[in-house]
């Protein structure tokens, strides 16, 4: 973000320009308006300047953009008088290498009076733009930085020992006191500026007290340099210090104009504080000052943009913005990029510039013609189907955070050899409550259910289609992610009323049936096998296995284990949970069969048997008793006082049908007797009296 003063900007632009025009131009050219504030007669405006346009972090930069848009001449930075002879410069400056520091310019001013007052307009503008007033020299350095974009620094020559400065990387870690009087740790490799004894500056970021210019200072040295961008950025991050200077160095400063701006700044200081600008200058510039020129082809421009511009139009556009163009024979331009446009390095950068100047809204609209092949994404489709099925069955969809409390595994008693165990932790979580990449959705869903109970949404069935995360070395990220469907339910499924004498609560059997419906839809055969999960009620937890592979689990949640979940106490009924992975689907091919033209007969049998006998075993026995038994279904399950606690009553419905004739009562009686006898022998199951 960059804040600028409208009055200041106007000094470079058309005198009649209005703030609204400025905002509109900037907004359309890609510098988003972020707010404004009226201070006195001035308007302070904030715009967003993206990382590619550091030239827009100055008033002159913004003025260039506005004037170009309005077809007016671009403001220029006054040229310095070039008289540099580094050897004659009274202070010996050693630059370690060109990678550390690309350019280093210095000037001396002797006999300044830094006790004068900073002019009001400078003070006011700095204050309005968020920079503290210090003393005239420092204020003017800051002012010129906001004006022209070059960060600068000043030194009290008397405090530089041995008249020697070194720009170098710190040889080891050490501590310094910065201007804010805070102690900071400098790491090996950070760029520092030091004299023989002490560190004067963390390059491009902040100075120390050691050679700082105060109101007492008489002879000063001004510096305008360009330091390594990445290095400034890393140091600034490590120190957690961001200054207007470091902000600009990180993004890039135009090395070409450092000397000009420094000289302009020195002249301004002289005007205000008096003193003599010494005739010696120090000017180190590693970059060979070659022209940055790029070839731009008309064909490439039009084909990327979908436009039909001609070479003349493009030339006019670019020249308006300070790019010098020479026409080449093959419908191309040789474009000379102005030095402040650090972002323009390739042909495509110029094409973007052309698009921007032409106006995005003036580019035509044309549907593409493209031939791509059909790509199936069966997992994605499967998730869509599951979502529809669940919503159709009155489940509601939720999305929960992928990170759960760091101690969830411990609290739920999930052991490191359990398949739903994981310890993928974030290194920088927002808090410990959001730090483990979840290997199961159970925490997320019970937490969400409890939240809903707390806002009076009771009797709920909810689900989530989300990812779970597991360590897996062979995968490039070291992490396996599974698309997982979790469902949770508690409370009343069918309320009392409308002919129903008693409310019907969600039960374990509902859970099993919902699972069956979904699995059946995808043609997945599955089996359940008991497993010991401490967070589930005794005997309720089962793994879901499909073709021998573990694809999820079900269970009734043990509320005591989830005591750490906020509001869980509000849930009074049993909580049922199920989760399964959607990484395999196969659609069952189902054939329609016409079974028989004779009418079927349905009969109910209320059988009492041990809880250890599975309904499936009874069903099989009944089915196998005759080919005329077409189907057996469980219609109810219950127990009462007259039964032993180890038994329960199950109501089976048997569907009889023959392909040969309408079954007679006698025929049915025969089949019935057969299987009842068999059930009694095999399972000690008998009709309830």
């Amino acid at each position: 973000m960059f804040k600028f003063s409208f009055e200041w900007l106007k000094s470079y632009c058309d005198k009649n320009i209005t703030p609204e025009e400025v905002f509109k131009i900037l907004n359309l050219q890609g510098f988003e308006f972020q707010g404004k504030e009226k201070i006195g007669s001035d308007i302070i405006t904030a715009i967003e300047v993206k990382a590619n346009r550091p030239d827009m972090l100055s008033h002159i930069g913004i003025a260039r953009e506005i004037n170009a848009y309005q077809n007016k001449s671009l403001p220029l930075i006054p040229k310095a008088l070039a008289k540099n002879d580094n050897k004659k410069f009274p202070i010996k400056i050693n630059i370690s290498d060109e990678k550390t520091c690309k350019r280093f310019c210095a000037l001396l001013i002797k006999n300044v009076n830094n006790k004068v007052k900073t002019p009001e307009y400078v003070k006011n503008r700095l204050e309005a733009l968020g920079i503290n007033h210090v003393n005239p020299v420092v204020d003017i350095l800051n002012y010129v930085m906001l004006d022209m974009g070059q960060p600068m620094h000043s030194y009290d020559i008397d405090k530089i020992s041995n008249s020697e400065l070194n720009v170098k990387k710190a040889p080891s870690n050490f501590k310094i006191k910065t201007l804010g009087d805070t102690e900071e740790e400098i790491r090996e490799g950070d760029i520092i500026i030091s004299d023989k004894e002490k560190t004067l500056c963390v390059a491009g970021i902040i100075g120390t007290d050691a050679a700082t210019v105060t109101s007492e200072s008489k002879d000063i040295m001004l510096e305008a340099a360009v330091f390594n961008e990445v290095s400034v950025r890393l140091t600034s991050r490590a120190l957690k210090i961001s200054t207007p200077s470091s902000f600009r160095f990180e993004r890039g400063v135009n090395a070409e104009s450092s000397m000009d701006i420094l000289y302009y700044c020195a002249k301004t200081i002289k005007e205000i504080c008096g003193g003599e600008i010494s005739s010696e200058q120090f000017n180190y510039y590693s970059g060979n000052q070659k022209n940055n020129s790029i070839k731009l082809s008309l064909k490439n421009t039009n084909s990327l943009l979908g436009t039909s511009l001609n070479i003349e139009e493009i030339k006019t556009y670019l020249e308006k913005y300070g790019f010098a163009c020479t026409e080449l024979p093959d419908d191309a331009l040789e474009v000379n990029v102005p030095s402040y446009r650090l972002d323009v390095k390739k042909e495509v950068d110029l094409i973007e510039e052309v698009a921007r100047i032409h106006g995005y809204d003036n580019i035509p609209i044309e549907m593409p013609t493209i031939r791509t092949s059909y790509n199936k994404n069966s997992i994605w489709t499967a998730m869509d189907h599951i979502r529809s099925i669940l919503i159709g069955m009155n489940f509601s969809e939720t999305i929960n955070y992928s990170f759960i409390p760091n101690n969830t595994m411990e609290l739920l008693g999930i052991k490191d050899n359990d398949s739903i165990y994981s310890n993928i932790l974030l290194q920088n979580p927002i808090s410990n409550a959001y730090s483990l990449m979840r290997p199961t959705l159970v925490y997320s869903l019970i937490n969400c259910l409890a939240y809903n109970y707390s806002v009076r949404n009771t009797d709920l069935a909810i689900f989530e289609l989300g990812r779970t995360y597991f360590k897996d070395k062979p995968i490039d990220t070291g992490c396996k992610e599974r698309n997982t469907c979790g469902i949770i339910m508690s409370g009343t499924r069918i309320p009392k009323g409308w002919g129903c004498d008693k409310e019907v609560k969600y039960s374990y059997y509902d859970l099993l049936s919902y699972l069956e419906v979904i699995m059946d839809y995808f043609g997945l055969e599955f089996e359940l096998e008991n497993i010991d999960y401490r967070f589930c009620e005794n005997g309720s937890a089962c793994e879901i296995l499909s073709s021998g592979e573990r694809i999820g689990f079900i269970g009734e949640l043990n509320k005591k284990c989830f005591g750490f979940v906020k509001n869980v106490k509000l849930i009074k009924d049993k909580i049922f949970y199920c989760e399964f992975y959607i990484d395999k689907v196969g659609f069952k091919s189902k054939k329609l069969r016409f079974e028989s033209k004779y009418p079927p007969v349905k009969r109910l049998y209320n059988l009492v048997h041990s809880k250890n006998v599975r309904a499936k075993e009874i069903e099989e026995t009944i089915k196998n008793s005759s080919e005329n038994v077409r189907e057996v279904k469980v219609k109810d399950i219950y127990s009462d006082k007259n039964m032993s606690p180890s038994e329960h009553a199950v109501l089976y419905e048997v569907n009889y049908c023959s392909k040969l004739n309408t079954l007679t009562l006698e025929e049915i009686k025969n089949i019935e007797n057969n299987f009842l006898k068999a059930l009694n022998n095999k399972f000690n199951a008998s009709l309830k009296s």
């Binding site: 359309l28 890609g30 995005y360 549907m367 791509t372 509601s396 974030l426 809903n452 990812r467 490039d476």
Partner: protein, 337 residues
């Protein structure tokens, strides 16, 4: 007038009187019995005895007219007494709240609208990992380490600096391009992460969909056509769409796409921050560095990419006040949409 005719006339008077003073629905059955059954039988048998053809024809008509009158009046009276045909038995204003669908999550509902349009334009859906490598999330998207643009996407790390939680689904585009050669036409939906505390207007997690089209001759004009179509399909033909220059390291030229505010129609309101416009999409022509990085010849192929964050859009679309609510999952809110 024959005797019979006179008799019918007087019977008719009697009938009309009886039926108009009827008090009880059971008495109607008596009337039915007396007139429709018994008396009609008498009349028809009398008719048989008439010899003169002309007279027979005349009488027959009178008898039939009388029968019609009887039937009409009886049926009218039945209606008067009957409960069956009136609206009083059923109250059609009642619904059972137990018969209903569950509710979908607003983010997914909105995404599905978008997906449907893009799929119909030929895009296919591709998923990728959320735990991602720095090289796919940043480096190959023209954001080498220490690139200032990385600041915009403060990232969660699993093991710094290489394994992180993806900060956008652009990483899926890189993975897809590394696997396949052009033409490419994909969308990659999913959850992305950026370090942010949880408060009413911030969450550390978002739902995003990104799209990519790479082939020979794909232009900025194509990008405009696809995205204008998408926005108009989702938000209605009447919205205006504008393209502004912006900067992303992985596209050039890059465009921010605004649509006219759906709340105020460009007059300016709280939703659009009084600007009349809402920024909904980031997009641009894929940077040649990105194409070259995945081994595509950037002088032959070009393409565009776009990204759309659904959370903020969902707030606008559904008029929800807080972004945090999207992950609180208050089902009673979801039930309303």
């Amino acid at each position: 007038m024959s005797n019979l005719e006179a008799e019918i006339n007087s019977k008719e008077k009697l009938f009309l009187e009886e039926i108009s003073t009827l008090k009880n629905i059971n008495d109607l059955n008596t009337i039915k019995d007396v007139y429709l059954k018994k008396y009609m039988r008498v009349l028809y048998s009398n008719l048989k005895t008439v010899k003169d053809l002309e007279e027979k024809k005349n009488l027959g008509k009178i008898i039939n007219d009388f029968k019609k009158l009887l039937e009409l009046k009886i049926s009218e009276t039945e209606d008067r007494f009957s409960l069956k045909t009136t609206s009083s038995e059923y109250d059609f204003t009642i619904r059972k709240d137990s018969i209903k669908l569950g509710s979908g999550h607003p983010l997914i509902k909105l995404y599905k609208k978008i997906e449907e349009i893009l799929i119909s334009m030929g895009f296919s859906v591709v998923q990728g990992p959320e735990v991602e490598l720095d090289k796919y999330n940043f480096e190959m998207l023209n954001m080498p380490s220490h690139h200032p643009a990385r600041d915009m996407q403060d990232t969660f790390y699993i093991t710094a600096p290489n394994v992180l939680l993806r900060s956008h689904t652009s990483s899926v585009q890189i993975r897809t391009m590394l696997e396949k050669s052009p033409p490419i036409q994909i969308i990659s939906p999913g959850t992305v992460y950026r370090v942010d505390d949880i408060d009413p207007q911030h969450t550390p997690m978002f739902y995003q969909v990104e799209g990519l089209m790479v082939a020979e001759g794909i232009s900025f004009a194509n990008l405009k056509a696809v995205l204008i179509t998408l926005l108009k399909e989702v938000f209605g033909e009447s919205i205006e769409v504008r393209f502004r220059p912006t900067y992303y390291p992985y596209t050039e030229p890059s465009a921010a796409i605004d649509m006219s505010c759906t709340e105020c129609g460009k007059r300016g309101c709280r939703t659009c921050g009084y600007s009349g416009w809402i920024t909904v999409l980031g997009s641009g022509m894929v940077h040649p560095n990105v194409l070259e990085g995945v081994g595509y010849d950037s002088s032959k192929y070009s393409g565009f990419a776009f990204g759309l964050g659904l959370n903020r859009l969902a707030l606008i679309y559904y008029g929800l006040g807080e972004i945090r609510k999207l992950y609180e999952n208050d089902i009673s809110l979801w039930d309303q949409i």
